[in-house]
């Protein structure tokens, strides 16, 4: 029985956010609050020869200047483990200010704590560091000769080489091959809220107000870094102003805030500056990919060879898994995927919205378009000929797959059949028009630990559901309110969701598009457990109209339990509780997720279509329309899900045309500001059409939620690049596609 789930409910936190009443982690007002500002390395490689803090320490309002010579040492750095596992989740296995060695530009070298933010910023400028610089490698180009094949990547979860069949032999025999190299610039997340932590010690107990995707990830990571008992730490995340992966792993700043607070015996706020966001919380690494497709003359893929080369840090073998979804999209018997890495003077790269899926599918879907051109086949028809009826790597069935419907509906909306396949044939004044398409897909990955929620109802019939997850701006708190209301059978306005606090029942971090699926499972189980408990109590209560009835025949709606076939027989939760002199009742719900070895392929699929206008004289490309149709399983809230998908598609457009962090010859990011790192503005936004094909999925989680957080971005860049080819006849293999490459 569903009344609330799926409805386009307005955000439960919307009013607090737009009125400013909602307090973000850098806005927590506390008596005696002091402010910490980081001092970062100018050079990418070398050592601190001298750190002169004389002037800084004497500047007005300064309470402490901390650095490698005086920072109290903490515990140990936990291993790199994705925060979806629910344990400590360090963003890199390096903790700063422990010695004088400099591994990358922007590395945190010192921290100034002062009475006010302005005083701390000013004093930070007065810290003088003398460097001894050594040679560095910061780009693919500089490190190409030193590349090595990774044994494992992605915190050890993905092998560096993945094969099925014999790709080399199949490519030799292929009737048609398409082979190209592709380049994607580095990207940064740039959420509107910069990362921030406010730390408060009360004796040996620590409270952290932290902008994080996972309060428990912060808790466990800081516990290990500082060697503090997890039971003595509480992490509160009231609001998060976007993240896109930069708050998915836990970097050093929450622990540094706690160390600073301990040093000055006061609450301390540590907020990263926008510039520091480019070298403190990871990035999507610059990467080169080489893809070879082999096919027969009918367009059936016979072989895929997909190699990636990218820089990682000195400490960790990290590459975003660019080969993943691209290897699962099409039926193809022979496959070879290899991750090559370069040890470079950068921090460890990290999850950035669609980590790997966006870049890998740009490459795969651009190549598929070229293959279609070579074979004189419609690009959509080529994809249908290679439709993967089972998961190609394992042969397992899909838990659900609505891709065929996505293609059909997308093509209908885009009027694809009316498209003249020849490039460069449609003109509108100075603009050449083109239409392109691409497949989309994002894996559904279960969390590594049980997910919990607690449901509590009061004697007046109002209820609260509690779970520790943080809402990073996606609308998950709103969707969970809907799930909780339906599960318990109470009206939405009587249900409150409490979240964003590690003291609440445990969940993993809201990452990998998994948040809605895993938290809704726990919330649903808690709410229905409480419902069943109250029904059982009514059935056992001789004063209840339901006494002695079959509990399976009792349904709850609007807070009232009643027999399914005799709705007149029943009573409200409130009546039951009040009669029993119970002020409240509660139940804990635990969802044990399926293991990674579940014998199903699990993915959210989609189809993307783009219409672009290109002015080839001036090198301008304007996206006129994006159409995306996705199969996300059950949709919990049409409005927030729609917004997630639309936001993803706009991210994809931005990936295609604007975003790129440029490494300067001095080994520093050269455009570390929102003035220089371009993201789209409203004037760039095209008409965006989003539709969902609802599929039933009984494998992934109890409500069949596959996730919408990222899939909207997958394939968008390729659809745009393919549309640019259709407009102009020119292929683009580098992202972003800029004016000079379009001229």
């Amino acid at each position: 029985m569903t009344t609330a789930i799926g409805r386009p409910l307005d955000r439960v936190d919307g009013h607090a956010k737009v009125t400013g009443a909602g307090r973000y982690s850098a806005e927590i007002a506390l008596p005696g609050l002091a402010h910490a500002v980081l001092v970062t390395s100018r050079i990418p490689s070398g050592r601190v020869e001298l750190i002169d803090t004389y002037d800084a320490e004497r500047a007005e309002g300064v309470l402490a200047v901390l650095h490698h010579l005086n920072l109290p040492k903490g515990g140990s750095v936990p291993p790199l483990l994705p925060s979806l596992f629910g344990a400590a989740a360090s963003g890199q296995t390096f903790f700063p200010m422990q010695d004088e060695v400099i591994h990358y530009a922007g590395q945190h070298l010192a921290m100034v704590v002062a009475e006010t933010l302005d005083q701390a910023e000013h004093a930070a400028r007065l810290v003088r560091i003398t460097y001894q610089e050594t040679a560095s490698i910061t780009t693919v180009e500089q490190g190409r000769e030193r590349a090595y094949e990774a044994e494992k990547i992605f915190a050890g979860f993905i092998p560096g080489r993945i094969t099925r069949g014999d790709a080399a032999a199949a490519l030799d025999r292929a009737q048609v091959t398409v082979e190209n190299s592709y380049y994607c610039a580095a990207n940064h997340h740039n959420p509107i809220e910069c990362s921030a932590t406010t730390a408060v010690w009360e004796g040996d107990r620590l409270t952290l107000y932290d902008a994080t995707q996972g309060p428990n990830a912060t808790l466990h990571t800081v516990a290990e870094l500082l060697n503090v008992m997890p039971s003595h730490i509480r992490v509160v995340t009231n609001y998060v102003g976007g993240s896109f992966g930069c708050k998915a792993m836990i970097w050093d700043h929450p622990a540094l805030a706690a160390l600073a607070a301990r040093a000055v015996h006061r609450p301390v706020r540590l907020a990263l500056s926008r510039e520091q966001m480019f070298s403190s919380v990871g990035h999507r690494e610059e990467q080169e990919q080489r893809l070879t497709l082999g096919a027969d003359r009918d367009g059936r893929l016979t072989a895929i060879r997909h190699h990636k080369l990218s820089p990682t840090s000195h400490f960790d073998d990290w590459a975003e898994p660019s080969l993943g979804v691209a290897s699962q999209m099409y039926a193809c018997p022979n496959y070879e995927g290899v991750y090559n890495l370069i040890k470079a003077n950068t921090m460890t790269p990290t999850f950035t919205r669609c980590p790997g899926e966006a870049s890998g599918m740009f490459v795969m879907e651009t190549a598929m378009d070229e293959l279609a051109e070579r074979l004189d086949l419609d690009p959509l028809e080529l994809r249908l000929r290679n439709y993967a009826e089972t998961e190609p790597m394992t042969g397992h069935p899909w838990s659900s797959k609505g891709l065929r419907d996505c293609y059909r509906r997308g093509a209908e909306l885009a009027r694809w059949s009316e498209r003249d396949p020849r490039p460069g044939t449609v003109r509108d004044g100075n603009w050449l028009l083109g239409w392109g398409m691409a497949s989309s897909g994002y894996p559904v990955t279960p969390p590594g630990n049980p997910q919990r929620a607690r449901a509590r109802i009061f004697a007046d019939g109002s209820a609260v559901v509690q779970s520790s997850f943080s809402d990073i701006g996606t609308g998950s708190a709103t969707a969970m309110t809907q799930v909780a209301a339906d599960g318990l059978g109470v009206p939405l306005e009587r249900m409150r969701i409490q979240y964003g606090d590690s003291d609440l029942p445990n969940t993993a971090a809201a990452v990998g598009s998994a948040g809605a699926g895993m938290v809704s499972a726990a919330v649903h189980i808690a709410a229905t457990a409480l419902r069943d408990q109250l029904i059982a109590q009514a059935v056992a209560d001789e004063h209840s109209p339901l006494h002695g009835t079959d509990p399976r025949q009792v349904a709850v709606s609007d807070g009232r339990m009643a027999l399914r076939d005799r709705p007149g027989t029943g009573e409200t939760y409130a009546e039951l509780l009040q009669r029993a002199f119970m002020a409240d009742a509660e139940a804990l719900g635990t969802w044990n997720p399926p293991g990674m070895d579940t014998p199903y392929g699990t993915m959210t699929f989609g189809a993307q279509f783009a219409q672009v206008a290109v002015d080839p004289d001036l090198g301008l490309c304007r996206v006129r329309q994006l159409i995306g149709v996705f199969d996300p399983g059950r949709v919990l809230n049409r409005k927030t899900a729609h917004s997630q998908l639309m936001g993803g598609m706009l991210w994809g457009m931005s990936h295609a045309l604007l975003e790129g962090t440029i490494m300067g010859p001095d080994g520093r990011w050269a455009n570390a500001s929102l003035g220089e790192y371009l993201v789209p503005v409203n004037a760039d936004a095209p008409d965006v059409v989003v539709e969902t094909i609802e599929t039933t999925d009984t494998v992934v989680n109890p409500l069949g939620v596959k996730g919408v957080g990222e899939v909207g971005m997958v394939g968008t860049a390729a659809a745009i690049a393919n549309a640019i080819w259709h407009a102009t006849g020119r292929r683009h293999h580098r992202l972003p596609i800029t004016i000079e490459s379009l001229m």
Partner: protein
């Protein structure tokens, strides 16, 4: 942020006297650049004198058809003033294509003329920059220089002048009116902006305490057929990679009057006199436009990342001239 002191003045004489008396002081108008510069330590002022209350924000039509724009007139107010929209569409467009609506509501016209370059080496207080700290070298020469200039550069500085409005005003031969404790004078706008040469730190002929009280745009009937074409990476809120301010009249297929200036490619708002020379009196054809554009860019000096600007600037000029020619023919 470095500590600064702040005071507010309400009349021009006091404003000038206050700033002139203290070499560490500066005028604060819209503050849309100044405050940023202070925050990133690229600006040494220690005392801000707020001049927003001064009565120099009017837009007035002179008897001879000129328009006098107060130094404190806001970008949006100028852009939307009917007289500007009617008689100088190039200026209205240049203003509206600059910055964002919020910034245009704050930023003053005088401040726009004095805005600092966007070069990231200038804005990074610790980088080498001859403009910020003479003699330290130019980080952009060997650095990331895609957005830098190809015209008017020197071995000491290649920073692009960022203003759009100034490009239109250079095409329109505007005069900058300046007041100081000694009195009032006016400077032709093309002389107001200086090439970097050996002294990139000197961007204009103002002395400390000089105040821009007005910008006067002389009457120019040809400017009714004018436009500002701006080419940039995104559709709004971004500086030009190349732009053209252009006014044009064609009589019997021959170019009678033409004004052309370039933005986004030069170290100052760039009057394209070589192109104008080719254009004036020549047939209004694509061939003429291409020849004129090539002549203007003949001496351009590319940097490793911005050679495309030489071609882009030519195509921008050609497109602007073609558009105005077509418009003129249609009216």
């Amino acid at each position: 942020m470095r500590p600064v002191s702040y005071s507010r003045v309400t009349d021009v004489a006091t404003a000038i006297a206050t700033v002139a008396a203290d070499p560490t002081s500066a005028y604060l108008a819209g503050g849309t650049t100044k405050i940023d510069m202070l925050r990133i330590y690229a600006e040494p002022s220690q005392r801000l004198v707020d001049i927003n209350a001064l009565p120099i924000d009017h837009i007035e039509v002179q008897p001879d058809g000129a328009v006098r724009i107060g130094g404190l007139a806001r970008m949006n107010d100028v852009a939307l003033a009917p007289v500007v929209v009617d008689r100088f569409p190039v200026l209205s467009e240049a203003l509206l294509l600059g910055a964002s609506a919020q910034l245009r509501n704050m930023a003053s016209m005088g401040g726009n003329m004095l805005q600092r370059v966007r070069c990231s080496y200038f804005r990074d207080a610790e980088a080498s920059c001859n403009k910020r700290e003479p003699g330290t070298g130019c980080g952009a020469l060997s650095g990331v220089n895609r957005g830098h200039a190809v015209l008017g550069t020197s071995p000491h500085c290649i920073a692009t002048h960022p203003s759009d409005a100034a490009v239109a005003l250079v095409a329109l031969d505007a005069m900058i009116h300046v007041q100081n404790s000694a009195g009032h004078h006016a400077v032709a706008i093309d002389d107001f902006f200086l090439l970097p040469g050996d002294t990139p730190e000197r961007e204009h002929p103002l002395n400390h305490g000089d105040l821009i009280t007005a910008i006067e745009v002389p009457a120019l009937p040809a400017a009714r057929n004018s436009l500002y074409l701006k080419v940039r990476d995104r559709e709004s809120y971004e500086f030009a990679l190349a732009s053209a301010a252009c006014a044009l009249t064609v009589e019997d297929g021959v170019i009678a009057e033409v004004r052309l200036a370039l933005g986004g490619v030069a170290t100052k708002p760039w009057r394209a006199r070589k192109a104008e020379h080719v254009l004036r009196g020549a047939p209004a054809t694509r061939e003429t436009f291409a020849r004129a554009a090539a002549a203007e860019m003949a001496d351009a000096v590319p940097q490793p990342m911005n050679a495309f600007k030489i071609e882009l600037a030519q195509r921008t000029m050609i497109r602007a001239l073609e558009t105005l020619t077509a418009r003129g023919a249609a009216s």
